[in-house]
Symmetry: C2
Subunit: 229 residues, 2 copies
Amino acid sequence: MTEKPDYRHLFVLLKLAEMGAHRRTARISTEYLAGKLGTSQQTASRYLIELDNKGWIKRTVTPEGCLIKITEAGVKELQKLHSNLRFLMESAYPPSITLEGTVFTGLGEGAYYISKEKYQKQFIEKLGFDPYPGTLNLRLTTDYDVKARSELEAYPAIEVEGFRDEDRTFGHVKCYPATIENKVKGALILALRTHYDVSVLEIIAPVFLRKHLKLRDGHKVKVEVLTLP
Amino acid sequence: MTEKPDYRHLFVLLKLAEMGAHRRTARISTEYLAGKLGTSQQTASRYLIELDNKGWIKRTVTPEGCLIKITEAGVKELQKLHSNLRFLMESAYPPSITLEGTVFTGLGEGAYYISKEKYQKQFIEKLGFDPYPGTLNLRLTTDYDVKARSELEAYPAIEVEGFRDEDRTFGHVKCYPATIENKVKGALILALRTHYDVSVLEIIAPVFLRKHLKLRDGHKVKVEVLTLP
DNA sequence: ATTACTACTAAACGAGTAC
DNA sequence: TGTACTCGTTTAGTAGTAA
């Protein structure tokens, strides 16, 4: 995730591909490459040596120039960049939205709702985990977070259907897979109880978050909400 | 063509897009961005300032972090990179092959063939220019060039059909659009007369190349042959 | 908490040149 | 012609720190 790709080398690789070196062995002089890169001949030469050492190209030096072929590993790097870009450019939504809120104690109704068998079954099936019976409540304190939360409502969600038992009806719930504090995978649930205002977030997870993350009222918590494709 | 895109900034832009900043205003602290980039907080801060000055992002500094939105110009840069990569990765052929050969004087038959009306009409229609009546002959001197020429034969070409007149038949010709010496747009023609060997190239162009490029026998000439999608 | 300045260090670059 | 070395210069990156 937080690896450090050498974008300088990746860029050179792209230029070599523009010269066809990803499909065939191409003859490319360091001077010519330098022109394409906007650098000196010496720098271009160095790049080729570095790419060779890295295993991204195969390089044969001849008196007429270098014979360059991008290796499978090199092509894979370009493909990685390509699929990354395609994913970003072709989706209408951001890949994720990070929200921050302050822990507070709710009315304790979370456990009651979450435990309802009809909900629970759907959580397991659609979210892939059996939620701890209770929700973590977060209060959004900045305009940014409130605005971001409201944007979220327009995004595609995992839909958990409502139902009716002897006494009353239980509403439809929208879920968004989320990572809490960059550590625990859980979900943000929206509209479970509509009387909660727009500055409140409810989080469920397979574990008891307060204990697991050693949270107390007033602590700030980061939630990375994943949007769906 | 030989512009110098700042790949450092482009890479930062990509990372910002991964955080959704191409679709919405995202809150990103310089510290967080630094982590994603593998740099220091100070460098991340400088990048954001530079991208802002460049007009690729809109940046609002708040006590909770920077609010970042990639501008239209910034998104356009990412799209440019994306379509460039898509073109390269999705095509089975290299975009072009550059060959180098030495000028020599042929048998002068080029003019005769080129001038045949049935060929000429097709050249105009399929290549988009009326060829000067004559071919420039180049002799390939390196293994690389001979091998590259033979690869070319397997690539898709513009097909010029043969025909028959009172006396004899005129064969099928394969043409590849080409740029001669990075200056003149013309075409490489293959198999016009099959008795020519694999180390010979025949070039046609709307102008008299020998005069236009001040060529004499023995001069080296670069031909960038374009492959077709 | 943040951002971002200044002053310094490290790395990249390119001129000259050997081969 | 080519590539690629050394080495002085330039530029990018970071630590410390103010706001």
